[in-house]
């Protein structure tokens, strides 16, 4: 009798609900997923097109890597140089601007490096380096990390030599890095969307923002169907067309969290 019970339970468990109909895999960044944008957009998209979107939210570096392995149909990330390289090497078909927001510097209200009234990101980084205030870096080759490194370079500084002292690389996602920054009373650079939707801000504040160098562009592209013959080309095209359409762009502009707009559509 025991055997039969086990068998029954097992059979019940094995019955897979499965994915009915058309679907696609969207390799994307944690910032867009964690901000709740997809939870808002995708049900509307699915209603319009009957295509189910499965979002894999990882760092931009890993998302691109996964897409290179054909483990995804559409890529929506924020590291323009890396995206263009992705296209140039034949992994993707064509890249489109979708939307933007901006990066910001957050830190403790005490602001030990005194960056609060600065207008330029590069100036802020210099002050942080001079005062050797603790700065938390993603250190994970993500879009945010790449952006941060390019800013350091622009400032003529190499923070990696200070790695482990005041410059600390978490090697984790944005949220995990912010959690650490809050605990260490440290500075961090994040995209505005993640920050607004972040639940563990405590008394941290946005200390520096508004510099044009902190512009954060998101791009969308389809994985190359000639390289990845099993990809869902039709669904991928449907998704890209929809998100670049007036309707998709309008919905992005409509999305608000805590009364603030998180992303600004700029498809051409």
């Amino acid at each position: 009798m025991l055997k039969h019970t086990f068998l029954m339970i097992f059979l019940l468990l094995m019955t897979d609900s499965g994915i009915a109909g058309k679907s696609l895999i969207l390799q994307s960044t944690t910032s867009t997923a964690n901000s709740g944008l997809y939870d808002y957009l995708l049900p509307l998209f699915e209603k319009d097109t009957r295509v189910k979107v499965n979002v894999v939210a990882v760092g931009t570096g890993q998302a691109i890597k996964n897409a290179q392995n054909c483990d995804g149909d559409v890529l929506l990330v924020h590291a323009k140089a890396a995206e263009e390289k992705f296209i140039a090497e034949g992994y993707g078909v064509e890249r489109f601007d979708v939307m933007y927001n901006d990066f910001i510097f957050v830190g403790p209200p005490g602001d030990p490096a005194n960056i609060r009234n600065l207008r330029q990101a590069v100036g802020g980084l210099k002050k942080i380096a001079e005062s050797e205030s603790i700065f938390l870096s993603r250190g994970d080759n993500s879009g945010t990390h790449k952006k941060e490194l390019s800013l350091w370079k622009y400032a003529g500084l190499d923070p990696v030599v200070a790695s482990g002292t005041w410059y600390r690389e978490t090697g984790s996602g944005m949220g995990a890095t912010l959690n650490v920054a809050v605990e260490m009373n440290a500075y961090a650079m994040t995209d505005r969307g993640t920050w607004i939707s972040f639940g563990n801000r405590q008394d941290f504040e946005i200390l520096l923002s508004g510099d044009k160098d902190l512009f954060n562009q998101y791009g969308v592209m389809m994985v190359n169907p000639e390289r990845c013959d099993k990809m869902n080309m039709q669904s991928a095209k449907t998704f890209i067309d929809w998100i670049l359409s007036d309707k998709g762009q309008g919905l992005i502009a409509n999305y608000q969290l805590q009364g603030q707009q998180l992303f600004f559509p700029n498809a051409k």
Binding site: L13, N54, N69, C70, M174, N179, S197, F198
Partner: protein, 235 residues
Amino acid sequence: MQEFSSSFGLAFNLLISFDADLLEIIGLSLRVSLIAVVIAAIIGFPLGASIAVMRFPGRQVVDILLNALMGLPPVVVGLLVYMMISRAGPLGWLNILYSPTAMIIAQIILIVPIVAALTRQLIEDLHREYDEQFRSLCLPMSRVIPALIWDARYSLLTVVLAGFGRAIAEVGAVIIVGGNINHLTRMMTTSIALETSKGNLALALALGLVLLLLSLSINAAVYALRASAKHLAYA
């Protein structure tokens, strides 16, 4: 930290509201881990019992290997499975990346060594007791091993429980091969990781409490089953 107190309230609210998303996540966690542990038992029981009972060349190597594999980091297992079943990998044609099946495979690889090593221990003890009787009956190994497994069935439940515990609590492997896709591969542990990364620490902890509760009730059920078996002198 006010997170602690609010977590308990949140966990309670989550449970009594029968939140559909939560139930789906719990259901998937249970389904994936139970299937993984059943398959791991089907592989691990005979494997462990064979090592306990049979003397064959390379037995010690298998033994050492199993013990070493027990300490395998889940992330490594996840990565290995990912590389195998990625569309660019050798098993890409299976098309199972980012599916519950992929998570089940990763968990099986994680828990077979545990199940086999613990089974070996248990069966070795039982075999010591039965050995003379079985040899007196001239039983072939094909009869000895199933008989030992069946007679150790209630003790083996704790082995299954150990495997299940590792499976259901594991996040490193399933997040890589499952992708933590909402309504498809999002489990208890990957949700906890996600909510932590969103800074929703109270919610993350509340989910952790639900997981703990789940694990407690399964353990209690197995404990009760074993107790009744002990009563019949079967355990």
